[in-house]
Structure formats: structure tokens, C-alpha cells
């Protein structure tokens, strides 16, 4: 335990808070507080758009659990992880322009705003907001816990100390600066993550006796790590479901779709698709390669290290000189905090815009002054963040369940609702409601009770039933005329 080691991380966090104050000051003169606070006034350029999308998507598990599995499985794990190169170009290519145009027409600042308008359904909007807040809260808690554990394992400080050092600060800067702060800090986080990967790569390679030596060792002692099925550890079904879970269905993640509302022009969007694909591939291949190269550092069987989640922290502690551990830890922690900030601002927008403001207006109450709205939004964002922070201090077991359900749950809830809603006229609110509620419940149920179709991940059940519910609701129940369809499908 050495205080000097903490200085790089503390400086990094100070810069993050500084960014949020800077963009906040810049915002003071601009109109449209909601648009500014929750989508950065739709002004992001291509580079920032790419970085914030990747940084929010790449979580602490991409940096800890994933490469730990790569250490265990081998190149099959990277082959599976590389499907995530789709995570930016798919969502931006399919929804980028669609939601950008619609949000300007509808003055929408959240994905739920667009869903509410498309289906003319407050019930669906309420369900969507609830799903977002619940699953995001679970994911944020897991990010807090993952980051703080990594901090404790590598730096020798307490878990609680780690939570305070990076956890509270991320809540503060997100609450102060809103989406614009999230986008710019995410950009810094993504750059730091990439630098962290290069740093870790170098030191793990050094400590393992060089690339050729490590690979020769793997070929001699663990030849299955060089096979796509890894001697049975990577079944074909796992590849298939990962294509769904971290590939195709990621287009439904609200934290990614909302980024389509936030950019300035289509030139930036096109740039972001290219830059984002480069960055997400670099990170996924780089960090998982470090997991494999850690075989040169951690040579005992898995049981010697506990679980795969301990591989990367142990590898960092073993391979990296004590004097620069403080730098090396920033990369993985940046993955954690950029996901927390990205989710926190979207969850807060659901509470404020989708619930509070909506029902205020519906009840005929007047507009709030920007000053009052700012105070309410900042307090709501901070409160949400602090609640999650407190839960992370002593996480109840149900949080792990929610986190486990979160990724697939969000995809099940929004995949068909968004794709059919934004691209077909026949989709109606009954189909959407049945799909979001029924599909998500079925998904959580099969995940919770370990029910699998042909031994595949429950996302297969979730996404299939969600589709059936959607089709049944849309074709069996007739909706009354939806006046918003003309806005969504002009001239059709």
C-alpha cells in the first residue's frame, strides 16, 4: 500500500470532474436544458460519438472477466469476442439517422420518448422506463463492485476506499455535467483504456519471457487453447448465442440507441461507425490477448487463483512493477466508470423526462424554469447514483440476478419494439407491450430457473418468445388509428 500509487488515479478523476465543470459552464447560456443535459444538445462530433458508444458498451467485465476466460479457454474466446466489432456500426447504421431525425421532429431526448410517440402508449413508455432503470441499476452496481474489487486486489487498499475514490466521483461528474460530460469523459476513458491495453500487453509479455516463449509453452502444455472449440470448452452453441447476445441484439440496447439522438450531422455519424469499429475491435482483441499471454505469468491451474475473475488482477499485480501499477489500473477502472456514467445519465433521463416531466405536463402543470429543472435533474442523477453506490457497499444477492438478467433483458425488451416500430407501419402498441413485458418476463424466468432451449443461452428463448408476442399482439388486436404514424412514415 503506497499513497504515491494513488496519485495517477486521483489526477485522472480530477480531470474528469474538471471536464464536467467545463462543459457545464459552457451550457449555461444555451437553451433547451433537457436536450443539453440528457443528449448533449445533439452536437457530438464523429470521434466523440464513436468513443462514448464504445466506452459505455465496454464494461469492467470486458477488462476482467472476459480476459480471465481467454486465459482459461484460449483463442476460441477471442474468436467469440471479436463478434463485438458489430457493436457500433450495426446500431448506428440501422438507427443512427432514423432516431436523429425523429428526435428532432418530436423534440425527443430519450429512446422512451420515441417509443411513446411511435406507439402512442403511456403504458409501454412506463414499462420501458422501468426496465431501463431496473436493469441499469443492476448493471451499474456490478460495475461499481467490479471496479472496486479490482482496485482493492491490485492496489492493496480497501474495497470501500476504491468505491469512494472512483465511484463517488463518477456520480458527481455525471450529475454536474450531464450527457455532454459523459460523452467527453467517455472519450478520455476510451483513450486511457486503449493506452492501458498497450501498457498491460507490454508488461505481461515481458514478465512471461516474450511472445515466442509464451506461445511455445501454450502449444506444449495447453494445445487445446489453439483450437476453436478449445477441447470442448467452447461449444458451437456458445458461439451461436454470443452472436445474438453481444452481436446482433446489441442494436436494442437503449444506452447505444440514445447515442443516435446525440450527434450533430451525418458526416460525424459515418466517421463514428468507422472509428468505433476500429476501437471496439482493438479493445476486444487486445484485452483478451493479454488474458492469453497471462499464461506466461500465471502458470498454475485455475484452482490456484480461485475464479477466472481473479486472473487479470493477479496478472497485473504480478507482471507490472509497483511504481506504475497506479497507471495500469486506470485503464480497467476507466472501463468501469465510463459504463456507469453512460448508464446513469440514461437512467436519470428516464426518471426525469419519461416519468416526472411527462406526468407533470399531462396533469396540466406549467413548464419548469431551466434553473429549477437543472436542480431537479442534478439531484435526481446524483440520488440515483448514490443509491447504487450504497447498494454496491454491501450488494444483496438479488443485485447479481438483476445484473445477470440485464444485458439479455434489455435486448429482449427492446429488440422487436425498436426494429418493427421504427421500420414497419403494422407494428402496434399491443404487440410492443406484449413483447416487452412478456418477452422480458419469460427471459428472466428461463435465466433464473436455468431453462434452456437445445442447451442454448436463455436469450434464444427471450428473443423468440418476444417475437411471437409481438406478432400475436400486432395482428390479433386491432389498434385505434395512430395519429403519429404520419410523423414516423411520411408519405407512405
Amino acid at each position: 500500500m503506497n499513497f504515491l500509487q494513488l496519485i495517477p488515479l486521483l489526477l485522472f478523476m480530477v480531470v474528469m470532474v474538471g471536464i464536467s465543470f467545463y462543459v457545464r459552464r459552457e451550457a449555461a447560456s444555451e437553451s433547451g436544458f433537457l436536450s443539453h443535459y440528457f443528449v448533449g444538445n445533439r452536437a457530438l462530433g464523429g470521434f466523440v460519438l464513436a468513443m462514448t458508444t464504445v466506452a459505455t458498451y465496454s464494461s469492467v467485465s470486458s477488462f476482467v472477466g472476459g480476459p480471465g476466460m481467454a486465459w482459461h479457454i484460449g483463442f476460441g474466446w477471442i474468436y467469440m469476442a471479436v463478434v463485438q466489432v458489430t457493436a457500433v456500426f450495426l446500431v448506428l447504421g440501422i438507427y443512427g439517422k432514423r432516431v436523429a431525425l425523429l428526435s428532432r421532429k418530436l423534440n425527443a431526448v430519450t429512446v422512451v420518448d420515441i417509443i411513446r410517440a411511435r406507439y402512442s402508449s403511456d403504458a409501454l413508455a412506463a414499462v420501458s422506463a422501468l426496465v431501463i432503470v431496473l436493469f441499469f441499476a443492476g448493471t451499474m452496481t456490478a460495475q461499481f463492485v467490479g471496479g472496486a474489487r479490482l482496485f482493492a486486489a491490485t492496489m492493496g487498499y480497501d474495497y470501500e476506499m476504491g468505491l469512494v475514490v472512483f465511484g463517488l466521483i463518477v456520480v458527481i461528474y455525471t450529475a454536474i455535467g450531464g450527457f455532454r460530460a459523459v460523452a467527453f469523459t467517455d472519450t478520455l476513458c476510451a483513450l486511457v483504456m486503449m493506452a492501458g491495453i498497450v501498457l498491460l500487453f507490454y508488461f505481461v509479455l515481458q514478465a512471461g519471457g516474450g511472445y515466442a516463449n509464451i506461445m511455445q509453452n501454450i502449444a506444449d502444455k495447453h494445445p487445446e487453447m489453439l483450437e476453436p472449440f478449445s477441447g470442448g470448452n467452447m461449444p458451437l452453441g456458445l458461439y451461436f448465442t454470443q452472436w445474438l447476445l453481444v452481436g446482433i441484439c446489441t442494436i436494442a440496447l437503449p444506452q447505444s440507441v440514445v447515442r443516435g439522438i446525440s450527434y450533430k450531422d451525418t458526416k460525424g455519424l459515418h466517421q463514428a461507425m468507422i472509428i468505433g469499429t476500429f476501437v471496439v475491435g482493438f479493445m476486444n482483441i487486445g484485452i483478451n490477448m493479454i488474458g492469453i499471454l497471462s499464461r506466461g505469468v500465471l502458470t498454475e491451474p485455475l484452482s490456484a487463483y480461485g475464479t477466472v475473475d481473479n486472473i487479470i488482477p493477479t496478472s497485473i499485480a504480478t507482471a507490472i512493477p509497483e511504481s506504475i501499477v497506479g497507471f495500469a489500473i486506470i485503464g480497467p477502472l476507466a472501463a468501469s466508470i465510463s459504463t456507469i456514467s453512460g448508464l446513469l445519465i440514461v437512467a436519470a433521463s428516464s426518471v426525469i423526462k419519461d416519468v416526472f416531466i411527462h406526468y407533470r405536463r399531462k396533469n396540466g402543470k406549467g413548464e419548469l424554469s431551466p434553473t429549477r429543472l437543472r436542480a431537479i435533474s442534478v439531484v435526481a442523477t446524483a440520488t440515483l447514483g448514490v443509491v447504487v453506490f450504497l447498494v454496491a457497499l454491501n450488494p444483496p444477492s438479488v443485485i447479481w440476478l438483476i445484473n445477470m438478467f440485464a444485458f439479455g433483458g434489455l435486448e429482449t425488451a427492446f429488440f422487436w419494439v425498436l426494429i418493427f416500430g421504427l421500420f414497419t407501419k403494422w407494428a402496434n402498441k399491443y404487440g410492443a407491450l406484449f413483447s416487452a413485458v412478456g418477452g422480458t418476463i419469460c427471459y428472466c424466468f428461463s435465466q433464473g430457473f436455468g431453462i434452456k432451449l437445445f442447451g442454448l443461452h436463455p436469450i434464444v428463448i427471450g428473443i423468440s418468445l418476444s417475437l411471437l408476442f409481438f406478432l400475436a399482439g400486432s395482428f390479433l388486436i386491432k389498434d385505434k388509428e395512430n395519429k403519429n404514424l404520419e410523423v414516423f412514415f411520411p408519405g407512405e
Binding site: 483463442f75 447504421g93 440501422i94 476453436p228 450531422d265 459515418h270 482493438f282 411520411p490 407512405e492
Partner: protein, 84 residues
């Protein structure tokens, strides 16, 4: 591209192209990984599939997105007031 109808038509075309790109990537991924698993060639101390199925897929995806954006995606004004 002036009217909202034309913009929507273009957006649908781009979404379809993105879907096709996904399909192409899946096929490339299968061939570059599983398809190359039986080839007895080593590159950088690795079997060929472990390079083509990882770095190869990544580079292919980047090139594909560049082609998609350059030849199929069009710039459009997002701020323009609707013209229906």
C-alpha cells in the same frame, strides 16, 4: 434529398445495407475461423484460423464499414424542417 419521404427511403436502404453487411461479416467470420481451422499453416506461432478469425475479422469489418459508408450511405440534413 429534400422531402422526409426521400430521407426515409434512403434510411431504409442504409439499414438494409447494414443488415447485409452483418450477414457478410457472419459468413466471413465462419470461413476465417472454423473454415481455416483445418489448415496446417502457422503465422506468428499461431494456427492460421487464430489470426484470420480474430485480427482478420476485425480488419475485414473495418474495410466493410468504410465501403458501406462511402458507397451506400448518404449525407442528409438532420435539422431541416419537414417538407411533407
Amino acid at each position: 434529398m429534400v422531402t422526409d419521404f426521400e430521407k426515409l427511403k434512403q434510411i431504409k436502404k442504409e439499414a438494409a445495407v447494414t443488415g447485409l453487411a452483418l450477414l457478410t461479416l457472419i459468413i466471413f467470420w465462419c470461413v476465417a475461423g472454423f473454415g481455416m481451422a483445418g489448415v496446417d499453416v502457422s503465422v506468428f506461432y499461431l494456427p492460421l484460423w487464430a489470426v484470420t478469425g480474430t485480427v482478420g475479422v476485425w480488419l475485414f469489418a473495418i474495410i466493410m464499414v468504410c465501403v458501406m459508408v462511402k458507397f451506400f450511405f448518404k449525407d442528409m440534413d438532420l435539422t431541416e424542417v419537414e417538407d411533407r
